[in-house]
Symmetry: C2
């Protein structure tokens, strides 16, 4: 299996990262641990809220993206972590039974000037529901290693 | 107990939201579920990484903030969820045994023009370690209800 390095990534590339269905029990369990608000925990309270029914914590949706990204891309990539993300938006509620699909769209690839063995990727992280509607979007900054050969070319 | 509404919040207010210590087992368990990268899972692999040892998933740190915010403020607030966050930065690694403290700094309070029963809060979410160093920062946009009395004043 070829390991993805910064040199393999280019603006315009789109990586489809897989799918996962969120059940009611998983939504409630995540919320109990991390985001215990009534509209994530309890059907009756959620029905009376502006959401009209139980919805997943937005951080749960982010974590589902992260897991699909880890399995679908990081597992075969020379990745070095991330300093942060921008423009994170929860665009639509995620409800019990929704099937989420994760996608990474490469925006920008930039070798590091100070550290020739690595570089910076900017990419849009998107999560869609089973109707093809975006439920989550954010712009991630990601560190990737360069191929040893590529390093030698720029640093002979 | 007085429930916090938008009308109780003002720029410059700082809410201290409590503390939580992250153990090694919790760090690994979270990473197994949501962010299975070697430097979150395995001490030996982590020692060989750029982080020099096991670190918590950045999303774990975010979730710890969220839980402290839920217990420390949302539990006594008329909150209605969030459309998103900006400028999320993982500023320093979080390591096993670190004690994290969460803080919310109110930046801006704006009543909704179209919906007089609610408004928008912008606030900086900060997480610090036991040395007082920031490990996480982001700017959250949050919906809060207005007090019924306040609503009547602006919408007689």
């Amino acid at each position: 299996m070829t390991i993805l390095h910064l040199d393999d990534l280019a603006p315009g590339q789109v990586y489809e990262l897989g799918r996962r269905t969120l059940g009611r029990d998983e939504i409630v369990a995540f919320a109990r641990d991390w985001d215990p608000q009534p509209f994530h925990l309890d059907e009756t309270a959620a029905a009376a809220s502006i959401y009209g029914g139980l919805i997943a914590s937005g951080w749960h949706t982010v974590c589902v993206f992260m897991r699909l990204y880890a399995d679908g891309l990081l597992a075969r990539a020379a990745a070095m972590g991330s300093p942060g993300v921008d423009e994170l938006r929860w665009l639509r509620p995620v409800r019990p039974g929704d099937t989420l699909a994760a996608r990474l769209e490469v925006l920008e690839v930039r070798p590091s000037r100070s550290k020739p063995d690595r570089g910076i990727l900017r990419a849009r992280a998107v999560t869609l529901n089973q109707h093809g509607e975006e439920v989550l979007s954010f712009v991630a900054t990601l560190f990737f290693k360069r191929r040893p050969a590529a390093t030698e070319e720029t640093d002979p």
